[in-house]
Assembly symmetry: C2
Homo-oligomer: 332 residues x 2
């Protein structure tokens, strides 16, 4: 089913982004199609990403026994929000590459990249309003309100992430509000909007929202674990390790809270690529890995319980569970 | 009447921005209240600006014989869009000051300023949805659609402005699509949304939209004239001259099209502050000033004709005309 949905998602995204196509602004349009993975060097599915967020919208909608086709503009809207935040994140983090390709700001400069991100955000607003073609205005207002509210959470999470870089007194409890904004907020909007457009009951909608929220938390913690002990982090590209990048990930905040040898080493300045294996082992010894794995397991269970409670139906319901399992057990 | 409206506008803006106030993100909230002119060094009405856009929304609404109070969230929304674009513009233009104060990016750095601009944009989306408290959902969808559509024009105008900096083959005709996006689009949204919320007829709403559009064009051309021959540009702060900044303003594009001595000088590289008086005089001799004045006069007439056609009523109608005259004849 996912393979049937994906081409529809791409077509809808291309339609939304084509609003920028007129003659004078063709290069502007090209910046967005490049970022979306459709044009330029290295274009293709790898560059486009997995479109997890729009899939969550459509599968949730269909798992409520509703037609997913009229929900396509909402699917495009969440993916556009995600990509707007990526374009701005790459500037903020000074990242030269994304999915193996040059980022928008490295290709066209910071001022143009800020504007390209703004445009993706505008297009997401326009996309969500396109729901008015198929749904009552009151539903459109609700869907847009959900999306706008979580966008504020996104900027709040981004603020926390950036402000943490200046701090050396971070505690474990500082982790959750950052991650709730940066990762969970948008995923909870995907499943909530999908349920809303699937005409779910209030109770089901709330269960889907909670499912998306905890899916986001579990997914992020798994990602944090891979960022230190995953194959890519340990071997070969060890510069990609969260230890080298100094990320405020859960295992690192846990390790700092222990005030042991890891915290001592951390306080002395950036971890170098050559130290990664040793420092990762140290952090493991101090219990950070098993702590994070336990949290990921708990959040996964909560997410799955809410999904079960939401009562997803039919083929889409089965696919939703499959996608969830794939997201949360990525090593398998 | 304007003096009655202004405190209501500020209160509504503060309410919208207070969505960012929770404990962990207080500094984030402070970035926005600083930019809005409410807090920090130099705070006050000078720093806040004239709130022309929200005034246009409310006066238009009231000039349709409707209550302006429920339209306040829309007034806040347009001002938030304006301020989002200012925060990002200041980064893009590398401007250290705005209204005599340090810009957000000079105070908190580019990454934080990008995020602060994003948040203002999110808040404008939330504000426009707040109309649902007083208007039917179908009206909210229409108002939001108008706002989102002109936001795309904004990013398009910004793209053109930035891309023009790399070009030396600009023609007079390149001016209008840039200005339509950068200045007119938002003003036309102000008057159109005001009319929509004032329950105007379709014809009146279209007249108000056109009024806002041409008001924007006339206003921008007047501003371009002041940017070269205004007191501030010629004397004292001549570094503020559009000639020194190399802006793609109407008189400059006219002068380039003449391919005379001005164009020759322009091609040789940036104008220095000491040359401003002489180059401004040269541009005047070549007819740029009278050309721009004639265009401003024409656009002003068109704007006023559309305003008359829209049939503004009562005290608000009179105030709308007064505000228009004030905006377009700023030297008086």
């Amino acid at each position: 089913m996912i393979n049937d949905l994906l081409p529809h998602i791409e077509t809808e995204l291309q339609k939304q982004i084509a609003r920028l196509d007129p003659a004078r602004t063709r290069l502007f349009h090209e910046m967005l199609t490049y970022h979306m993975g459709w044009t330029g060097e290295g274009a293709g599915p790898e560059a486009a990403g997995k479109r997890i967020r729009p899939l969550l919208v459509l599968l949730t909608c269909a798992a409520c026994d509703a037609d997913w086709k009229p929900a396509l503009p909402a699917a495009a809207a969440v993916e556009l929000v995600h990509n707007f935040s990526l374009v701005h994140d790459d500037i903020q983090d000074n990242s030269p590459k994304r999915r193996g390709r040059a980022t928008v700001w490295t290709k066209w400069g910071v001022p143009m990249a800020i504007n390209a991100g703004d445009a993706l955000f505008v297009l997401s607003n326009q996309a969500i309003m396109d729901l008015a073609q198929s749904y009552p205005a009151s539903t459109v207002v609700r869907a847009a309100t959900i999306l706008h509210d979580i966008c504020l959470d996104l900027t709040r999470g981004q603020f926390l992430d950036m402000s943490y870089e200046q701090r050396n007194d971070l505690k474990l409890e500082d982790y959750w509000p950052m991650i709730a904004g940066k990762t969970s907020a948008l995923l909870s909007a995907c499943t909530q909007i999908g349920a809303l457009l699937g005409n779910a009951s209030e109770k089901e909608e709330e269960s889907y929202r909670q499912f998306g929220h905890h899916l986001g938390l579990a997914f992020q913690v798994e990602d944090d674990i891979l960022g230190i002990w995953g194959n890519e982090a340990i071997t070969g590209k060890s510069a990609a390790s969260d230890l080298v990048e100094g990320k405020n990930s859960l295992p690192i905040l846990y390790g700092l809270g222990k005030r042991g040898r890891f915290a001592e080493r951390w306080a002395k300045g950036p971890i170098k690529a050559g130290e990664v294996t040793a420092v990762a082992a140290l952090l493991d010894e101090e219990g950070a890995r098993s702590y994070a794995s336990e949290i990921a397991r708990e959040e996964t269970e909560i997410a799955l319980a809410f999904l079960e409670h939401a009562n997803p139906r039919g083929e889409a319901g089965a696919e939703l569970l499959k996608l969830t399992n794939k997201l949360l057990k990525r090593k398998q």
